[in-house]
Amino acid sequence: MTVTAPPAAPETGRKVSSGAGSSGVGRSGPVAWMVLPALVLFIVFGVVPLVGVLLLSFTQWDGLGAIHNAGLSNWKSVLSDSQLPHSILVTFEIMILSWLVQTPMSLLLGTFLAGRQRYRAFLAVLYFIPLLLSSAAIAITYKALLDPNFGLGPGLHLDFLTQDWLGRSDLAVGVVIFIVSWQFIPFHSLIYQGGVRQIPTTMYEAASIDGAGRVRQFFSITVPQLKYTIITSSTLMVVGSLTFFDLIFVLTAGGPGDATRVLALDMYKRGFMSNQMGPASVIAALIVLLGLALALLLRRLGGSATASQQEGA
């Protein structure tokens, strides 16, 4: 863009001024119009449902009959329900632990895959396979593999694999984190791979002249240079895990008991299984608020995002 702009700019300016109106109007008019399709989609599918959910959270509705005004009673009942802190706790447990597993792994894999060697390109293709599968398919597959009676462990007579993986509360949370990581590490590796390739090779050359080894280069050049990539990837992980639903729903349905009932599942159960759209909308509104707060927090942690990465170095 910046390269092509200078020669094009005067010519366009002349043409527009010779045509009709001032160049300012001529420029911003079509550009503003181009925003419209995205804006309309965002309003119709983003803002309108959001307002709808907020309104529903103050009503009583079973999904079938008439909608009645309920005032603040839904908010009061949900906020005083002991299920809510539990769901928030499980959500954050899965969020934080899966971040802790995914970030270092994707960072290392991404750095490794950024190398231009042929075998790495080949490995990269293999690593990305989990990304091609739908969450439901992954959940069904793992459910079959982890079955305590007909799964992988009993089939191969391996005792350490023959656990009640999805039937014990502590193990079930671990399994969910493992599968989430298995599924999303490829995606985040891809982001890091792109980030690492953006780092100018001159830095590494300078570092090796100064006598820095591979490990030193990784911590002193790669990681600091990837600061914004890490923030982007973390935002996606954190905000994404707030709405995590499909995999857990198919894998454990929130069980055993309520051990893996994250906020999104709690919302679904209240709304579509108990027919209580009001309380479900309260949870939905809470998820939106939490998501916004977390995204803002991560942006703050990243400092001013306007400064370019390479200029900062």
Partner: protein, 453 residues
């Protein structure tokens, strides 16, 4: 250069404008479509009558055959069908009906779910039609099947399909291995548990992740210990109904069995939809299983020689020593139910009524149900039993018929009888009870909080 930039701009503008126009066009065309949809309520294109039902053999094939016979005979008013998997159906049908996009014929389990439809004025009152125009059809059906179809004294659904009590299945080979007899009482069950565990056989198979599977145990224990009135009180909304001493005792007995490793390892991650619980029984990994009569067909077709070789045993749930319940009582589904959407057009309603009257309990259907190892909800089913030549099927069908017909009280499954709100809280707490993460007292407190909701 000059025409290049202009054309690129124009191009982008056109693309943006085109996308916008397409977006607006979509809004415009979806508007008129949804308006007649919400007034007719049928939701289907072309306005014909629609019917949604469940997948899963052998039921699915019988339902498909019914519709085919109807459509062949009524080329001008065909019935359109959509098939759903069980859990997906439960979620979809509620939202669809609420949005005015439900089918003309609403298939269901009656009870609390039907009551919710009635309260929202979504289903037709069929009392007059059944008692006047279709008196023969009404009289041919087991009277007990109408309880779950009746709300405030009016009939809103026609019972159809099959009577499916919950029974205790067992593997005769497993009992031979430990040299024991099938249990005659709850005490026997508790005594059998360590014997089976010593031989490396799980005493009971259970698909605990489905939750309603666990519920069947409580249904029987409540009945056997405290009699049918314990749940009847809860159903009628009596305050603190779940704290009845018999209820607490039943919950305690339940947890005793779980703590004694009465259920197969990993039961809380096994689902009933995948039939893995049945597989545990017919592969010899588990000795007994409490399950619906509808599982017989699958165990016969998937279980190798388990059924055909005469290894499958079955009995009604045994009594609990000192319990007040009648040992002939049973629970389960007294039938499946078909209602007609009140939002459908008169023509669609007429088609639906014609289908119910002519094709849901006709001779071909009754025969198909009996052949598949099920007892249809009609009195004439008994006469068909003598025509069954397979001795295993014949013994099984007579057992199911007698269990259903001789039951002093045939209770409807709790999650179907209660309102959806209570049912979900119930299933949720049952899962926690089986996980031993709440005590019987906490269970009762949690459940009392939603009584009558």
């Amino acid at each position: 250069m000059d025409p290049m930039t202009t054309s690129r701009r124009t191009f982008l503008g056109l693309v943006g404008g085109g996308a916008l126009a397409a977006g607006l066009g979509a809004c415009g065309s979806s508007g008129p479509q949804s308006t007649p949809g919400s007034t007719t309520g049928a939701g289907g294109a072309g306005g014909g009558a629609t019917y949604w039902f469940l997948t899963g053999q052998p039921q699915q094939g019988i339902r498909e055959a019914q519709v085919k016979r109807f459509n062949d005979a009524n080329a001008d008013s065909k019935l359109k069908t959509t098939e759903f998997q069980n859990d997906a159906f439960k979620a979809k049908i509620k939202t669809a009906i609420g949005a005015g996009q439900g089918p003309t014929l609403i298939w269901g389990w009656g009870g609390g779910g039907l009551k919710a439809y009635v309260e929202a004025n979504q289903v037709e009152d069929l009392t007059d039609w059944l008692t006047k125009e279709q008196a023969d059809l009404k009289n041919s059906i087991f009277p007990s099947a109408f309880t779950a179809a009746t709300v405030n004294g009016k009939i809103y659904a026609v019972p159809g399909e099959t009577v499916t009590p919950i029974v205790l299945f067992y593997d005769k080979r497993a009992f031979e291995k430990i040299g024991a007899e099938p249990p005659q009482s709850w005490g026997d069950i508790m005594d059998l548990v360590p014997k089976f565990n010593d031989k490396g056989i799980a005493p009971f198979s259970l698909g605990g992740q489905s939750r309603w599977t666990n519920m069947m145990w409580l249904e029987f224990l409540f009945d056997r210990i405290g009699g049918s009135e314990v749940f009847q009180n809860i159903f009628e909304g009596k305050k603190d109904g779940w704290s009845d001493p018999s209820a607490i005792k039943a919950l305690e007995e339940m947890q005793k069995l779980i703590k004694a490793n009465g259920f197969v390892k990993g039961f809380s991650s096994i689902t009933a939809d995948s039939n893995a619980d049945q597989a545990l029984l017919f592969t010899g990994k588990a000795a007994m299983m409490l399950h619906g009569a509808w599982t017989y067909g699958n165990m016969k077709s998937s279980g190798g020689d388990f059924v055909t070789g005469g290894h499958l045993g079955y009995m009604n749930f045994p009594p609990v020593d000192g319990g007040k319940g009648d040992p002939s009582d049973t629970v389960g589904n007294p039938g499946q139910y078909m209602s007609i959407s009140s939002k459908a057009t008169d023509a669609e309603k007429a088609t639906a009524k014609k289908f119910i009257a002519n094709n849901t309990l006709d001779d071909a259907t009754v025969e198909a149900w009996v052949k598949s190892g099920n007892i249809p909800v009609v009195k004439s089913a008994k006469d068909k039993l003598s025509s069954i030549t397979d001795k295993n099927d014949s013994a099984w069908l007579n057992f199911v018929y007698d269990t259903a017909a001789n039951a002093k009280n045939f209770a409807q499954s709790w999650d179907q009888a209660l309102s959806p709100t209570q049912a979900e809280t119930l299933l949720d707490n049952i899962a926690k009870l089986f996980q031993l993460s709440i005590s019987p007292q906490q269970f009762a407190t949690n459940m009392n909080a939603v009584i009558g909701q």
